[in-house]
């Protein structure tokens, strides 16, 4: 599938035509009359490790679901690797990997089986799927648990297995929703290094997170979303504007004021 008249064939080439690995314009989605995503525009360059941050209910998961073809938008357009997600879903699905926020895998398969199944569904030969599955389990430190049912995995292990499923077909763009939630620091470091290496090869990662320190450390691009709208987007340094990302986030989104005086009893040992 090339781009007519350009001689470009690969997805990276197509991305360069548009300048972005992910390009979103006027994306909208409402639930019961309430706008969850209210006309967002977003450009993520190929080879970026981009973070999407925002408070609870800001529209992060809804946006990622629409970008990955899992939720039909009310309006707007999304291009991934130069391909329109909603005009050509099969072509986009072939080049992306997804780890949803609430990881629910086939819990009656073992860790090895679930990765191999993902690989074979993605068209890999059984032997190749098995080889990649073994390698990914090794890198993700799941080899010792490869034959255990996913039903018996902890939250962090499920996240790692889901990441393996998302990577097994070597996608060009990876979408991760809260990838490090519930993951222990050592595993988080493994995932961080894996993502950095993945991006270093020219692939793109867009992930949502609440952990500002993590986003600040690993992301070269940050987008802050609040109440379904993007309030800031750019390189991490641009968004921070000389402050910590945490402070910049609070300044942009605004602190949620609460009257803490009513808790005057808290801290006394009398009752």
């Amino acid at each position: 599938m090339g781009v007519p008249g350009t001689g470009l064939t690969g997805w990276h080439d197509r991305a360069r035509v548009g300048g972005s690995a992910i390009r979103v314009r006027g994306l909208r989605k409402s639930f019961g009359g309430k706008a969850a995503v209210d006309g967002i525009d977003l450009d993520i360059a190929a080879g970026s490790l981009a973070g999407l941050v925002g408070p609870n209910g800001a529209g992060k998961t809804t946006s990622l679901s629409m970008m990955t073809g899992l939720l039909r938008p009310d309006g707007g357009s999304i291009q991934v690797g130069g391909l329109d997600v909603w005009e050509d879903p099969p072509a986009v699905k072939a080049i992306i990997g997804v780890v949803p926020a609430e990881v629910r895998l086939f819990d009656r398969l073992s860790g090895a089986e679930v990765l191999e199944y993902s690989g074979r569904l993605r068209g890999l030969s059984a032997a190749e799927a098995r080889t990649r599955s073994t390698q990914l389990l090794d890198v993700l430190d799941l080899t010792a648990d490869a034959k255990r049912l996913v039903a018996d995995y902890s939250t962090g292990m499920r996240k790692k297995a889901a990441l393996g499923c998302a990577l097994i077909h070597n996608p060009s763009v990876l979408f991760l929703d809260e990838p490090l939630e519930g993951v222990d620091p050592i595993s988080a470091d493994v995932i961080r290094r894996l993502l950095t290496r993945f991006v270093g090869s020219g692939s793109t990662v867009l992930f949502s997170s609440h952990v500002m320190e993590l986003v600040e450390q690993v992301c070269d691009h940050v987008t802050i979303i609040d109440r379904g709208r993007i309030v800031a987007s750019g390189t991490t340094d641009q968004v921070r504007d000389g402050k910590t990302l945490q402070q910049a986030f609070i300044d942009l989104v605004g602190p949620r004021a609460t009257d803490e005086e009513v808790l005057s009893w808290l801290g006394s040992s009398s009752s």
């Binding site: 090895a112 255990r148 049912l149």
Partner: protein, 529 residues
């Protein structure tokens, strides 16, 4: 503490009334059945007056109630917060006062009251004289106390297991014997009674080995008191009370342990074999492998297959136990069996739940969707055909009409094709989220989608019944004793016909599912499994 836990139980009941409509319906249904059970048990026990086997039948009913108290709390474990000691683990409560409180909470609610009222039927049916009446009331109170203490002991002992994945898996299998038992009493017992094979004297001597068990002690104490054997009656009640005290002591010890023992971390299951099977068949093999593994490892799937066999047996009951022994009923059993194979496996998207999105990401076109549906149909056919054919042959042998086993098998084979075809189409067109509710081991339609589930049953039954007509016509055409060569020909034709039906179903399902994949993903994500 007792007052607080009783208030907690009442608050939980009030909250059930204030919550969703399905919860309200469930609450009122439960209350309705409690009233029915109370009235039915009271009347049944009262009607035993003057019967030669009154004490035997009273023992049977008392034992049935004890059995119910033993089993049902295992299902209700997630429904009643007062059943799980872990919910109270964090509070500074002494074990003994907690035990008294939990016991009082157990007495609160429609079912314990229904229990007492129903069993008081013995004051009419078995007791006579002032002493008999007093002992009857005491015996009923002790019997209910025994049931509750036994239930508490079982749930506390099993609490750590029931919270684990493996425990819930084991609990799921209990539904099969309970369903079979229910159907036995609803379908088989009335037919046996009508055929004169089951009557009151059938239970004579039942209590010769039950009389020294707690329910038998209670029943016999009433009889002894009513026939002037006061000391024997009191001895029996004393033994029953001692049993309750021992059970209570064991329960309190178990409760004390449960409060300070770490939760059971599920003992991990390790799987055998290095890889998914059917490697050489690409995506088709991968999907078939996934569904094949799930049929073996998912308790709900195993339960569905067992229920299919029970449903076939129940639908064929009148051919085996009835007066007429009409063999055509066996064909009905085959139709029901095939239809429920389809129903239990329709709505694959909702049943798979959120993991479906991993499959959806790879289902990039109509061809892949066809492969997906074929994969699951192959895995299900490998189990459905041998099961349905074997049950058909077994039921026909039980009915004494083996030749109808082949006819029923032919209907089952064609019906399985129709059922899988329609279940694929329903998966693509009428997918709905499923939910597993606390206390129920099986998946049900999520709140608000019950009509979809019922529609699935009706659609499967109607489709299988209609598409089985050509096979039934062929059976009628063959007559009662066709040449032997007719049987394999009929089976082969039925198999080809069934394959054609699956083929059409897969084609239509893939066409329908293609443009709806995002919506199907949302259905899958809405499932709470």
């Amino acid at each position: 503490m007792a007052r607080l836990l009783v208030q907690l139980k009442l608050q939980l009941l009030r909250n059930a009334l204030r919550s969703s409509t399905p919860a309200k319906v469930s609450f009122f249904t439960s209350c309705f059945f409690a009233v029915v059970v109370a009235i039915a048990a009271f009347v049944a026990l009262a009607l035993l007056r003057g019967s030669a086997t009154s004490v035997d039948l009273t023992t049977v009913i008392f034992t049935a109630f004890a059995f119910g108290w033993l089993i049902l709390p295992i299902f209700a474990f997630g429904l009643d917060s007062t059943l799980d000691p872990a919910t109270l683990q964090l509070y500074p409560v002494r074990t003994r006062s907690l035990a008294v409180g939990l016991l009082c909470a157990s007495f609160t609610g429609a079912w314990p009251v229904a229990n007492v009222i129903g069993l008081l039927g013995v004051t009419v049916g078995l007791a006579s004289g002032p002493l008999g009446e007093v002992v009857a009331v005491l015996a009923v109170v002790l019997q209910v106390l025994f049931c509750i203490t036994l239930a508490r002991l079982v749930t506390t002992t099993l609490a750590r297991l029931l919270r684990s994945r493996r425990g819930r898996d084991l609990a799921a299998f209990l539904i099969v014997p309970i369903f079979a038992l229910y159907e036995f009493f609803a379908q088989v017992v009335p037919r046996l009674a009508a055929a004169g094979k089951l009557h009151a004297s059938s239970f004579a001597g039942f209590d010769s080995w039950m009389r020294w068990l707690p329910p038998g002690l209670a029943a016999h104490a009433i009889l002894d008191a009513s026939t002037g054997h006061a000391s024997t009656a009191l001895l029996r009640l004393a033994i029953l009370a001692a049993v309750i005290v021992v059970l209570g002591a064991v329960w309190i010890r178990s409760l004390g342990r449960a409060l300070v023992t770490a939760d059971t971390s599920t003992q991990s299951s390790r799987v055998h074999g290095a890889a998914l099977p059917f490697a050489r068949w690409g995506t088709l093999g991968a999907v078939a492998a996934r569904f094949w593994i799930y049929q073996r490892r998912e308790p709900a799937s195993l339960v569905y297959w067992a229920l299919t066999a029970v449903i076939m047996a129940v639908a064929s009951a009148s051919a085996i136990f009835g007066k007429q022994h009409h063999p055509a009923v066996l064909l009905t059993g085959a139709v029901f069996g095939a239809a429920f194979v389809g129903y239990f496996h329709a709505n694959t998207v909702g049943q798979t739940g959120p993991p479906f999105i991993y499959e959806a990401m790879a289902l990039t076109g109509r061809r892949e969707l066809r492969t997906y549906f074929w994969g699951q149909d192959i895995a299900l056919t490998v189990i459905a055909l041998p099961l349905l054919v074997a049950v058909s042959l077994g039921l026909s042998a039980a009915a004494g009409r083996w030749e109808y086993g082949f006819f029923a098998a032919a209907v089952a084979v064609a019906g399985t094709g129709a059922a899988l075809g329609i279940s694929n189409i329903l998966t693509a067109t009428l997918a709905f989220p499923m939910a597993t509710r606390a206390g129920s081991p099986l998946r049900q339609a999520a709140p608000g989608y019950t009509a979809y589930g019922l529609g699935g049953v009706l659609a499967n039954l109607a489709t299988v019944a209609i598409t089985a007509i050509p096979v039934i016509v062929a059976v009628v055409f063959a007559g009662a004793h066709p040449p032997v060569v007719w049987y394999p020909v009929l089976l082969c034709c039925a198999a080809a016909y069934g394959f054609g039906l699956v083929y059409v179903g897969v084609l239509l399902a893939a066409i329908a599912a293609g443009p709806k994949l995002p919506e199907l993903c949302q259905v899958a994500l809405a499932s709470q499994l």
